[in-house]
Amino acid sequence: MSVDLRTKYLGLELKNPLVAAACPLTESLDNLRRLEDSGVAAAVLPSLFEEQVAHEELEISRVYERGTDSFAEALSYFPEMDDYRIGPDSYLRHIEEAKRALSIPVIASLNGTSEGGWIRYAKLMQDAGADALELNVYFIAADIEMTGAQVEERYLELVSAVKQSVAIPLAVKIGPYFSSPGYMARRLVEAGADGLVLFNRFLQPDIDLDSLQTAPRLVLSTPFESLLPLRWIAILCGRINAYLALTSGIHDAHCMLKALLAGADVGMVASVLYKKGFQYVGTILQEMQAWMQQREYESVSQMRGSMSQVNCPDPAAFERGNYMKALTSFTGKFI
C-alpha cells in the first residue's frame, strides 16, 4: 500500500511535509537543487535581515566616502561601478534564480526591524517571485520599560502591515517566549498570518574567554528541542485557522511523524542536514512511509492532528508541567 505524503502549507500543494528551513544551506542555488533532488517539498530561503541590509548600506556608503575629497591627489579610492548590488538586490536575485532552477515552492524569509522596511522588502520579495513569505520575527525586548502587551502589539502591527501589502501567503515564525503563546498565535492569525512556524531558535550571545568579548554562537539543534513546539502545535491544532509548521529539533522520521500527529502541516529541517547530509531527507521520507504503512495510515492528511490536544487520549498531558510529567515517567507512578 502506498502512502500519500502530500500536504498543503500556506495554500501551496506540497509533495510531502518535509521542508528545508531557513538556514545558510538554502543560500546556495546548488544546495537548493540538491535539496530538491533529495526530496524536500519546499525550501525557505535564509532570512534577509533588514538590520543587516541597513548596516551594510551604511557601511558601503562610509567605505566609499572615507577619505574622499580630502586630498588633491586622491579624491576617491575606488572605481565607480554601475552594476553594484546593494541592499536586498542579491537576495532578490537569489529568489529569482531559485524560482527558475526549482520546481518546488520557494518561500522567502524576512527579518525586519521597521515597519517601512518590512513592507518594502516583502513587496520586493513578492515581485521577485517568492511563492510565500515567512516573517522571522526576532525581537528582544531588552528595554525593561517595555511591557509584554507592547511587544505583542508590535508583532501584530507588523504582521498586519505586511499582510496588507502583499498578496502571497504569509507565515509568521515566532519564538516561544510569550506569556500566552496560544493567545498570541490567535491574534497573529487574526492580524493576517496564514501560517505559524513554531519556534524560532534564537542565536544566543556567548562570551569569549580569551578576548573577553561577546560573540554569537551557533549551536545545532537536538531532537529534544522538538518537544516544545510539538506541545504548542498540539495545543493550537484545530483551534486556530492557520497552517502550522514545526521547526527546531526535527532530526529523523520519528520527529517528523510526531509533528504531523500533533497537527503540523509541515516539519522543517536544518540541523539534521548539516549533520547527516542532504541525502538523509530520503531516509526520513522512507522511514516515515514505512512507519505509516506499518500503522496503515493512508495519508498525511489522515494522520495530521490525530494526536493534537483535542484529539489525543490525554489532553491534559499537554497542559501539565514538564516536571510532573517527567517525574511520572521516571518513577512510573503519579505521586
Binding site: 541590509v53 541597513a54 551594510e56 548600506e57 551604511l58 558601503i60 556608503s61 562610509r62 567605505v63 566609499y64 566616502e65 572615507r66 577619505g67 574622499t68 575629497d69 580630502s70 586630498f71 588633491a72 591627489e73 586622491a74 579624491l75 576617491s76 579610492y77 575606488f78 572605481p79 565607480e80 561601478m81 554601475d82 552594476d83 553594484y84 548590488r85 546593494i86 541592499g87 542579491s90 518594502r120 580569551d210 578576548s211 573577553l212 568579548q213
Partner: protein, 1204 residues
C-alpha cells in the same frame, strides 16, 4: 545645428569621454592630476561602454609612463587608434617614444594635464613646464583654456592628427582645468563620430605593420642619409596648421563653436596686447573686457595651436595698431633668453610683422597653479603702458631678490553683481566638496544658469581643510581663478574661526553661514573678536545651523554635506533668483538619489532626506549686535616660541598667507629644516586616548601602533615627578632594566588624529568593567587642558640611555624617541607606524631616499616636516628624487658614504701622527654594531673634530668636513608598492644585484594609495581597484621571492599588526645585514575598504589566512636562510577578503568573476605556502611568534608574554 546638451563636469571627464569614444587602445599609468583620465575609460570599459567604432576599448595599465608610451607606440604601429594620459615627470618618461611616434608620422593624441615638473621641490599643480619640455619631440601641441575647450580640442586634435599624420599633444592646465567643474555643451557619440573621417582611420590601419604586406620601420641610419631623412617630414608639419584650422572650421560648422589657431579678443584698435595660452586666457579676457569698457585699447591673443607654430596666423591675429605686446608664459626656463612662448612670438614678429615692430616683453605667471587673476592681467597691461616696462617680469609674487615682479592693484575686480560667488571652508571628512560639486551640478543642469566649481585642498590627508570656490552666473563663466570677493561665505567647522580668516574674502553685505553648536541667541559671544569685527564692519547677514546636531539626529555621523548644502540653497537662491528654494530642495533630493542610490541604498537615502528636512528647520538668522564683545582672539598658526623661519615662512603657509611670502624668504635650493610638525598644533581629533595606569600592562603596543607618534612611553626616575603637573599619571616600571623607575603612557592631545588604533590593540582590560581598557577613547575637550600640560611635561622627561634599551622587544623599542612625528598621513595610516619604528631604531644615523608617493607626501610636503631630531640634534636626513628611482637614489647615498668613509680612513692614517694611533685605530676598527659602539664612535668623532681644529693642514680641514661619515650610517629607500613592484622595480632589481648596504622598505598597501587606489602588481587577485575596475585578474607578484633568488639579499616580509615582535626583529636583522635588505611591510589602507580603527587587528587575519605569510631570508644563515615565521593558513581567504570592500565590491558587481578569481587566489595561497614550506625545509619551525602570535591581544596578556 544639433540640439544642445548641457552637463556639468570637470576637464578630465570632458576629455576622457572623447578619448574613450575615439580610441581602441589606451595604455595608462596613474599620475596626478591626470589619473582620472585613465580611471574613467577603465571603469567605462569594465561596464562595456563602446567607442564610435562599436568596440569596447582595451584599457591597460602599464608599469610606468615609459611603459605606457612604449605600449602606445606598439599599438599605433599595429594599427589601433591609441591614446594615453599623463603629466609632469610622467610626460618626461614618454619623451623617447614621443620622438619615435612623431618621427614615424603616426596619428595619435596624448591628453596631458599640464603639471609642474619637480625641480627644487615637487608640485602636483599646474603649469606648462612639462609640455614645454616636449617642444622638440615633433608633436603638435594644442592647448585648451577651459572645460568646454578640453572637450572640443580633444576632438579637434583627434580629427586633425588623422589627416596631418602629426601626433598631437592636447594639454590643459592641471587642476585649474582638469579638476574645475563647469557647465559645458557636451557632444553626443554621434556628433563625435561626425568629426572622425573613417577613410583616414582606414589609412592609419593600412600603414600598420602587417606580415601580409611586410614593411620595416625603426631602422638605424648613418651620417650620409639620416639628415635628409629627418627633413623629409617637413611637408607634414607645413600642412599641419592648415589642417587644424580646417578641422576647427568643420567643428564650427557642425557644432557652432568657432576656434582659430590664434584667437583675438578686445579692442580692434588695441595698442597693448597680451599673448597667453591655457586657463589664464579667460582671466585676461575678463580684464580686457573691463579695461575696454573703461576706454582702454587693449586686447588678448589666445594661443590654441602652439606647435607647429604658425607665425603668419599669429601676426594676422594681432591688430596692426599694436604698439607693445606682453607674452605670458606659465613656465620657467632658467638661463634662457626668454620663455618658450615669448621666444616664438618674438621670432614670429621678426619674420612676419610688417611696419613698425611692436615692443615685446615676456613674463612668467602662475607657476604651480599660483593664482592668476584679472587684477594681475590688468597689472601687466599697466606695465606695458610704462615708458620702460620690464623686459622680463613675473606677476603674482613679490620678487625681492632679482626684482622682476611687477606691481598690480589687487582691488581691481571684474566680478559682476549678478554672479553668485561663494566660498566654503570645510573638512575633507565632512563632505563639503561633494556637496558643492553637487550644487554646481544642480544649478548647471537644472537651470539656465552657468556654474563653476573649483576645490582647494591642503597637503595633509588627515584633518584636511578644503576650500570650495563656486560661481553661478547668468552668462558663461570665463575666468578660471579663485573667488576673491564672495557674496556668500560658509564656514562648515566652527573651530576654523580661530585659525582661518574665513571672512577676509567676504565682500560688504555678503551672507555668512556658520555651522555652529551655539544657537542664534548665544553664538555671538563665542566668536573670535576678529570675526565679530568683520561681521559688523562688512554688515554681513549672519546665519547659523547646528549641522552636527542634525547629522547626529539623522544618523549622518560627521557628514554634514547634505545639511550645509540645503542651507546654502535656501540662502543663495534668495540672493540671486536662480531657483525657487522649494525646487532646489527637490533637486537636492534627486541628486542624493543619484549619488547614493547606487552605492548606499535606501537607508542612506532616507538618512540624507531626513538631513535635508532637518537642516531647513535648524537654520536661523542671527541678529548681529553693533558691538564687538568677544574676549577671544584668533590663535597664531605656530607658537611664538617657534624659530623665526618657522614663524615667518611656515607659519604664513599654515595661515593661508603663503602667497605673501617674498622670494627672499624661500630657500633657493629647496632645503628645509626638519622637525617642524611639532609647531603646528592642528588639534583635529574629536576623541583622544586616555590612559589608565592602574590597568596598563606596559606592553607598548599602543605606542608602537600609533601612526602619528601621538602616544608615547617613557621610563624615568621618580624624582622627576616632583615638578610634574597635578594631572600627570605614572606607574611603577614593570621590568628588570630600570629598577625603581616610573613609567608613563602619554598622549599628545593636539597631535592625535583620533584614529583609535591604539585602543584597538590595547590588550589590557579592566577586571570589573571589561569594556574599559588601559586606554579608552574619550572626548578630547574634557581632557585637553590637562593632557596639554602633561604632554609638555612629558617632553621634558629625558629618554633613557639608548644603549640600555632592549630594542628587540615591543616595550623596549617604544622607549626610543621617535624621530618621525605628527605627520599629515591619514588617520590610522598603516604605513607610518613602520616609518616611526625605524626612526626609533636607527633615526639618529639615517639617510632616507624616498620614492614619490604617500610616504613622500606625509614625509616631505610643506608646510611642516615630520622627520625630526633628538636632543643632540641628530635625526633622519631625507630626500625625494623621483617616483621611479628611490632604490638607485639610496644606492647613490651608499656609494657616497662608503667613499667618504674610505677617504676619512685615508686621512686618518695620514694624520695619525698628529691624532694619535690609538684614536685612529679605534675610529677605523670600531665595528659599530651595538648602540654602545655607535655612541662610542660619536664620542670619538667629537674628540677627533676637537683635535682637528688645532691642526692647520688641508688634510685636517678635509677630514673635519667629512668626519661625520665615520659614524655608521643607515641608508634606507622608502616607497610604496607602486614604486617597488612597478615603476621602480628595475632599479630595485639592480640594487639587489649590487649587494651594497641599502635597506629597501616597501610600504605595501597593495595599491597606488597616493593617487587614489590604482592597481599595482601587488594588488591581489580578485580585488577591485582603479585601472582594474573589473577586478585584478593576475596573480600578485612575489617580490620577496625575486629578491631571494639573488641569494645575497636579506628579505623580510612583516606585518606589524599581526606579529609586532617579528616585525621589530626582522627590521633589526635587516639593518644589521651589511648587504642589500628588502623589507616588505603589510600596510592597511583606506584603499582596502576596511574599518580603519580595527585595521591593526585585521592584519592578523591577513596573515592567518595565508594572504600575507611572514618570513625572513637571511643570507648570513648559509645552512637554512629561509624561515617561515607564520603558521600554516587556518582561516579561509575569502572570509578575510569579504571583510574588505576591495574584494566585496567585485562579489557584488560581478559575482561569478569574483568567485572565479577568489578560487584562484586561494590556489595562489596554497601554492605559495607549499613552495615556502619547501624553501623552509621539511622540519621548519615557526620562529619568534609566541602562542598568541606575539601580539598579546588574543588573551589578557602580561607584558612579559607580549615581549617574550
Amino acid at each position: 545645428m544639433a540640439e544642445q546638451r548641457f552637463v556639468t563636469l570637470d576637464g578630465n571627464e570632458a576629455t576622457a569621454n572623447i578619448a574613450h569614444l575615439c580610441n581602441e587602445v589606451m595604455a595608462i599609468y596613474p599620475i596626478t592630476p591626470s589619473s582620472g583620465l585613465g580611471e574613467m575609460p577603465d571603469a567605462w570599459a569594465a561596464a562595456g561602454r563602446k567607442n564610435i567604432f562599436g568596440t569596447v576599448p582595451d584599457v591597460v595599465e602599464m608599469q610606468s609612463e615609459a611603459g605606457a608610451a612604449g605600449a602606445v607606440h606598439g599599438a599605433l604601429q599595429a594599427g589601433a587608434l591609441t591614446s594615453t594620459f599623463t603629466a609632469s615627470q610622467g610626460l618626461l618618461l614618454m619623451i623617447p617614444n614621443m620622438f619615435k611616434i612623431a618621427g614615424e608620422l603616426t596619428p595619435a593624441v596624448f591628453h596631458v594635464t599640464a603639471r609642474t615638473i619637480a625641480t627644487h621641490a615637487l608640485s602636483i599643480f599646474g603649469d606648462h613646464s612639462d609640455v614645454m619640455a616636449c617642444r622638440s619631440t615633433g608633436w603638435a601641441m594644442l592647448s585648451s583654456a577651459s572645460v568646454q575647450e578640453a572637450q572640443d580640442m580633444a576632438l579637434i586634435a583627434q580629427a586633425a592628427t588623422l589627416e596631418a599624420r602629426v601626433p598631437f599633444l592636447h594639454f590643459y592646465d592641471g587642476f585649474r582645468i582638469s579638476h574645475e567643474v563647469n557647465k559645458i555643451e557636451q557632444l553626443t557619440d554621434e556628433q563625435v563620430a561626425q568629426m572622425i573621417d573613417m577613410e583616414l582611420v582606414r589609412a592609419h590601419r593600412r600603414r600598420a605593420l602587417n606580415p601580409e604586406e611586410p614593411k620595416l620601420r625603426g631602422t638605424a641610419q648613418n651620417p650620409d642619409h639620416f639628415f635628409q631623412g629627418r627633413e623629409a617630414c617637413n611637408p607634414f608639419y607645413l600642412r599641419c596648421p592648415a589642417i587644424v584650422q580646417k578641422t576647427m572650421d568643420k567643428f564650427a560648422r557642425l557644432f557652432g563653436r568657432q576656434y582659430h589657431l590664434f584667437d583675438y579678443a578686445g579692442s580692434p584698435e588695441a595698442d597693448r596686447v597680451l599673448v597667453i595660452m591655457g586657463s589664464g586666457i579667460g582671466v585676461v579676457e575678463e580684464a580686457v573686457d573691463k579695461l575696454v569698457q573703461e576706454g582702454q585699447k587693449v586686447g588678448v591673443v589666445k594661443v590654441r595651436l602652439f606647435r607647429p607654430f604658425d607665425a603668419k596666423a599669429l601676426v594676422m591675429a594681432i591688430p596692426k595698431t599694436t604698439k607693445s605686446i606682453a607674452v605670458l608664459d606659465r613656465t620657467k626656463e632658467p638661463g634662457a633668453a626668454g620663455e618658450p612662448l615669448y621666444q616664438d612670438v618674438v621670432t614670429a614678429l621678426a619674420e612676419e610683422w610688417t611696419g613698425p615692430m611692436p615692443r615685446v616683453i615676456g613674463g612668467r605667471y602662475g607657476l604651480s597653479s599660483k593664482e592668476f587673476t584679472p587684477a594681475m592681467a590688468a597689472g601687466v597691461f599697466g606695465e606695458l603702458a610704462k615708458p620702460q616696462p620690464k623686459k622680463h617680469f613675473t606677476v603674482g609674487i613679490d620678487d625681492d631678490v632679482t626684482h622682476l615682479s611687477i606691481d598690480y592693484d589687487p582691488s581691481f575686480s571684474t566680478e559682476a553683481d549678478d554672479v553668485t560667488r561663494a566660498v566654503f571652508f570645510g573638512l575633507g571628512s565632512d563632505g563639503t566638496v561633494s556637496a558643492n560639486r553637487s550644487s554646481v551640478k544642480i544649478i548647471g543642469e537644472a537651470t539656465p544658469w552657468y556654474a563653476q566649481g573649483y576645490f582647494v585642498y591642503d597637503s595633509r590627508k588627515a584633518g584636511s581643510v578644503t576650500t570650495s570656490h563656486v560661481r553661478f552666473s547668468p552668462r558663461p563663466i570665463k575666468g578660471s581663478y579663485l573667488v576673491h570677493k564672495a557674496n556668500f561665505v560658509a564656514c562648515h567647522q566652527f573651530h576654523f574661526l580661530e585659525r582661518i580668516d574665513v571672512l577676509s574674502l567676504a565682500e560688504p553685505g555678503a551672507t555668512f553661514l556658520l555651522n555652529s553648536p551655539y544657537g542664534p541667541e548665544e553664538v555671538w559671544d563665542h566668536l573670535p573678536r576678529e570675526v565679530q569685527e568683520q561681521i559688523i564692519q562688512k554688515k554681513l547677514k549672519f546665519y547659523v545651523v547646528d549641522a552636527y546636531r542634525v547629522a547626529r539626529e539623522t544618523g549622518m555621523g560627521v557628514r554634514i554635506n547634505t545639511i550645509m548644502q540645503t542651507c546654502f540653497f535656501k540662502l543663495a537662491t534668495r540672493l540671486h533668483k536662480m531657483l525657487p528654494p522649494e525646487a532646489a530642495i527637490g533637486h537636492i533630493k534627486e541628486m542624493i538619489k543619484l549619488t547614493y542610490g547606487k552605492k548606499g541604498g535606501e537607508k542612506v537615502l532616507q538618512q540624507n532626506y531626513a538631513a535635508v528636512d532637518g537642516a531647513l528647520a535648524a537654520l536661523h538668522e542671527v541678529q548681529v549686535p553693533d558691538q564687538v564683545t568677544s574676549k577671544v582672539h584668533m590663535v597664531p598658526p605656530v607658537p611664538d616660541s617657534a624659530p623665526p623661519f618657522v614663524k615667518e615662512v611656515l607659519g604664513a603657509i599654515i595661515a593661508n598667507r603663503g602667497d605673501e611670502i617674498p622670494v627672499s624668504a624661500m630657500p633657493a635650493d629647496g632645503t628645509f629644516p626638519t622637525g617642524t610638525t611639532k609647531y603646528e598644533k592642528r588639534s583635529i581629533a574629536q576623541d583622544i586616548p586616555i590612559w589608565d595606569e592602574k590597568i596598563c600592562i606596559q606592553c607598548g603596543l599602543c605606542s608602537l601602533s600609533c601612526p602619528h607618534a601621538a602616544i608615547r612611553m617613557k621610563a624615568f626616575d621618580p624624582s622627576l615627578l616632583d615638578r610634574a603637573p597635578a594631572g600627570f599619571k605614572s606607574a611603577d616600571w614593570k621590568g628588570k632594566e630600570y629598577p625603581g623607575y616610573k613609567m608613563c603612557i602619554q598622549v599628545a592631545p593636539d597631535d592625535c588624529t583620533g584614529c583609535g588604533l591604539c585602543v584597538d590593540v590595547c590588550p589590557a582590560k579592566d577586571k570589573v568593567r571589561a569594556k574599559h581598557k588601559a586606554i579608552d577613547m574619550e572626548a578630547k575637550l574634557q581632557h585637553l587642558e590637562r593632557e596639554r600640560a602633561n604632554f609638555e611635561f612629558f617632553l621634558t622627561i629625558p629618554d633613557v640611555d639608548r644603549s640600555t634599551v632592549k630594542a628587540d622587544t615591543i616595550k623596549g623599542s617604544q622607549l626610543l624617541l621617535p624621530l618621525f612625528e605628527f605627520s599629515g598621513a591619514c588617520a590610522g595610516c598603516g604605513e607610518t607606524p613602520y616609518v616611526k619604528l625605524i626612526t626609533q631604531l636607527f633615526g639618529d644615523r639615517m639617510l632616507i631616499a624616498n620614492a614619490t608617493g604617500c610616504s613622500s607626501i606625509y614625509g616631505g610636503n610643506l608646510p611642516c616636516t615630520p622627520y625630526t631630531t633628538n636632543p643632540e640634534g641628530h635625526g633622519p636626513s631625507w630626500s625625494n628624487s623621483l617616483f621611479e628611482d628611490a632604490a638607485e637614489f639610496g644606492f647613490g647615498f651608499r656609494l657616497a658614504i662608503d667613499q667618504q668613509v674610505t677617504y676619512c680612513h685615508e686621512l686618518l692614517r695620514r694624520l695619525a701622527g698628529e691624532l694619535g694611533d690609538a684614536l685612529v685605530a679605534a675610529l677605523i676598527n670600531n665595528p659599530q654594531e651595538t648602540e654602545e659602539q655607535i655612541a662610542q664612535q660619536r664620542r670619538m668623532v667629537r674628540d677627533l673634530k676637537d683635535k682637528l681644529a688645532t691642526i692647520a693642514s688641508p688634510d685636517a680641514n678635509s677630514l673635519a668636513a667629512s668626519a661625520d661619515f665615520l659614524i655608521r650610517k643607515s641608508v634606507w629607500s622608502f616607497g610604496g608598492d607602486g614604486w617597488a613592484y612597478d615603476i621602480g622595480f628595475g632599479g630595485l632589481d639592480h640594487v639587489f644585484a649590487s649587494g651594497r648596504d641599502v635597506n629597501l622598505l616597501v610600504l605595501d598597501t597593495e595599491v597606488y594609495s597616493n593617487t587614489g587606489g590604482q592597481a599595482s602588481k601587488s594588488t591581489p587577485r580578485g580585488a577591485v581597484a582603479k585601472f582594474a575596475a573589473a577586478g585584478k585578474r593576475g596573480r600578485k607578484k612575489d617580490l620577496g621571492l625575486i629578491a631571494m633568488s639573488y641569494g645575497n639579499v636579506f628579505v623580510g616580509q612583516i606585518a606589524l599588526g599581526a606579529n609586532p615582535l617579528h616585525a621589530i626583529r626582522t627590521i633589526l636583522a635587516a639593518e644589521s645585514y651589511r648587504g642589500t635588505s628588502l623589507l616588505i611591510a603589510y600596510c592597511h589602507c583606506i584603499g582596502h575598504g576596511i574599518d580603519m580603527t580595527t585595521a591593526m587587528n585585521h592584519q592578523k587575519e591577513a596573515v592567518a589566512c595565508g594572504h600575507w605569510p611572514l618570513y625572513h631570508y637571511d643570507p648570513r644563515d648559509t645552512q637554512q636562510p629561509f624561515h617561515l615565521d607564520s603558521r600554516k593558513p587556518t582561516g579561509a581567504f575569502r572570509e578575510f577578503a569579504m571583510k574588505e570592500a576591495r574584494f566585496a565590491m567585485l562579489a557584488r558587481s560581478k559575482p561569478k568573476e569574483s568567485e572565479r578569481l577568489l578560487k584562484l587566489a586561494e590556489e595562489d595561497i596554497a601554492y605559495r605556502w607549499a613552495f615556502y614550506e619547501q624553501l623552509a625545509g621539511a622540519t621548519h619551525q615557526v620562529a619568534i611568534s609566541g602562542e598568541d602570535g606575539g601580539d598579546g591581544a588574543k588573551k589578557q596578556a602580561t607584558s612579559e608574554e607580549v615581549n617574550a
